[in-house]
């Protein structure tokens, strides 16, 4: 699974996700990637999110929208909302994986609860970084 989230100079947010699914999956199985609110979500008022990992767990959590909802309804930061959803809620469902997300101010967070992550991020004026594991 691959994905991207962005905040542009006008303060607008967007998210995109694309995947081939799981090796040897059943034909017709669909995970969270194309399900809005599970693996992909964006709202200028809160955040943009793209997920990767155990699709069924992200679907059951409505993970991307859950992060948005926590920010919108409780006022917590993107970092805290994402951390709780991935490290507590996803883990409680025996799900593994993670998300990338950006908030309306351009802050990026990338929590995950397993190994094998491939990530990159770029903040205008602060350079570009890539990271594995």
């Amino acid at each position: 699974t691959v994905g991207a989230v962005a905040r542009d100079r006008n303060g607008h947010l967007a998210a995109a996700t694309s995947t081939g699914g799981m090796t040897a999956k059943r034909s017709g199985r669909v995970g969270d990637s194309p399900v809005i609110g599970a693996g992909t979500y964006a709202d200028d008022a809160t955040c943009a999110v793209s997920a990767t990992g155990d699709g069924e767990a992200f679907l059951r959590l409505c993970a991307a929208h859950e992060i948005d909802a926590r920010m919108r309804l409780t006022g917590v930061s993107l970092e805290l909302a994402a951390e709780d959803v991935i490290m507590t809620e996803l883990t409680a469902l025996n799900g593994t994986g993670g998300i990338i997300a950006v908030d309306r101010n351009g802050a990026i967070t990338t929590p995950f609860n397993c190994e094998g992550m491939y990530r990159g991020w770029s903040v205008e004026g602060d350079g570009r970084k890539t990271a594995i594991y």
């Binding site: 962005a6 809005i36 094998g116």
Partner: protein, 174 residues
């Protein structure tokens, strides 16, 4: 309104650390760097976040190292099925496709659903018809095939047949 921000991911739990050689690691860093360059170019030209994530994911789909587009994993029926979605935070417009094979960049098929239909999620032949009507590039099986993904399928099927299939996240994640 401030500067732009961009983040990309190339999947989860695909390789164990002991499978990662220095050469392979360099390939992944270089691929992620190319992807970031693609998205940054859009944002640096005052392009929209939606265009930036679309182009960044196209770049990821074009990299056979990652499980999307070219390099997608195989189903147990030895086929490839691709899913993609995008969402615009300005207005909650969204487009998504599932279970498709053919469009070179599945995320562009998702975008064609967003731009050319009243719907959010389309599957199978209906989604492909929207992609064709939008004039998207299509590719054949040879383009999407990678030996590594084929070998991973054969290994998984063999483990299933032998009763040795584990619950390793790296396998579940493709």
């Amino acid at each position: 309104m401030g500067g732009f921000s961009l983040a990309v991911h190339g999947g989860a739990g695909v390789l164990h650390r002991d499978q990662m050689t220095p050469e392979r690691e360099a390939d992944y860093h270089a691929a992620l760097d190319r992807v970031l360059s693609t998205g940054e170019a859009v944002l640096d030209a005052d392009g929209s976040a939606l265009d930036a994530v679309t182009q960044a994911v196209c770049a990821l789909e074009n990299e056979p190292l990652f499980n999307a587009g070219r390099g997608a994993v195989f189903t147990r029926n030895e086929q490839q099925e691709m899913d993609a979605a995008l969402m615009d935070g300005r207005n909650r417009q969204a487009g998504a496709v599932a279970g498709i094979f053919g469009p070179k960049n599945p995320v562009l098929a998702a975008r064609s659903v967003l731009e050319h239909t009243d719907h959010v999620l389309m599957i199978g032949e209906g989604a492909l018809a929207v992609a064709r009507a939008a004039g998207l590039d299509f590719e054949d099986k040879d383009y999407f095939f990678t030996q590594e993904r084929w070998d991973a399928l054969q290994e998984t099927l063999k483990m299933e047949a032998e009763g040795t299939l584990d619950d390793d996240p790296s396998r579940r994640h493709g």
